[in-house]
């Protein structure tokens, strides 16, 4: 895959000692939609991979309704990092969009600023569950359409909005997840949206 992003350093880069506030943005979407690519294009570190194991009581029922007694479920996810200033660090989490990962989402979404739903127009079905889940959690989100080079049937954003039954207030943006500037624009679209919502809320007594 071609890339115009600069090479990320191999070595671990520590944060500055003044770093004190960690922030989260979650990027959700189906397999192969470009979540890791998007994280990579804007991250200051190579995307790292880690796993979460669910061992808590009360989550022992899988999607088939079968009780998973002692077996814990493990799911892997990628993340990247952006130092915003001397004290604030933004972490970007790429989360698989499939229904069976709902428990990971609940964990990741807790305290997140907002989410980006990354959409591949060839597999829009993958996005429905993610959008439903975000609305359920009332997590603010934007929809970014990753325009692959072989995306011949270029649906307009308005057509995609209709296909996904997205309310008018949810911002949409085209992107090329491989490009740093484009990835940056997606994040700015989300935070602009959050800022507008926050100022509107603060203006309401």
């Amino acid at each position: 895959m071609g890339s115009t992003t600069s090479e990320l350093p191999q070595q671990r880069i520590p944060l500055t000692d003044t770093a004190e506030t960690g922030l989260k943005i979650v990027i959700v979407g189906g397999f192969g939609v470009g979540k890791t690519t998007l994280v990579r294009s804007v991250s200051e570190i190579r995307p790292l991979n880690t796993e979460e194991v669910m061992t808590q009581a009360g989550v022992g029922v899988d999607e088939n309704g079968a009780v998973a007694s002692k077996t814990s479920t493990t799911v892997a996810f990628d993340f990247g990092r952006i130092s915003l200033n001397a004290t604030m660090v933004l972490y970007l989490f790429g989360a698989p969009g499939q229904e069976r990962f709902w428990f990971l989402w609940d964990r990741l979404f807790s305290g997140t600023l907002g989410a980006v739903v990354l959409v591949d127009t060839r597999r829009m079905d993958d996005s429905w569950y993610a959008i439903d889940r975000l609305e359920h959690h009332r997590t603010p989100f934007v929809v970014a359409v990753n325009r692959f080079q072989d995306d011949e049937r270029r649906y307009s954003l308005e057509e995609i909005r209709q296909a996904l039954a997205l309310p008018a207030h949810v911002p949409m943006v085209d992107c090329d997840a491989r490009l740093r500037q484009s990835g940056k624009d997606v994040l700015i679209t989300l935070v602009d949206h959050l800022y507008d919502m926050a100022t509107a809320q603060e203006a309401t007594p």
Partner: protein, 119 residues
Amino acid sequence: MTPRKPVDTGSPDRLYTVTSGRSRADDSFDLVTLIVAESGPSSGMQSEHARILELCRHPTAVVEIAAELGLPITVVRILLGDLLGTGRITARHPHAARSLAALPDSALLKEVLHGLHNL
């Protein structure tokens, strides 16, 4: 990107040993809580504890510690709880836990926007 499926950690015995059989993690550690070592490793210390103190000479997020150690986050939370309990680390938590539906304040978001524009 290759499709990833839920993975089996493959070595439950190792994880059991690392945590001395404990499975309840300290939930106060968010994925993005920044951990700072307050002292260096000492001799005789469990190797995972020592690794964490090495990593956290500079502030390091819980999720980065997990990735660097190759351990599940739940296990890392348990280990961090040990170190916090003995005063070996301090934790810089994210802003006060908000309800899921609550928005951060606009001043914070403005700072985030400013940081992103300057990338």
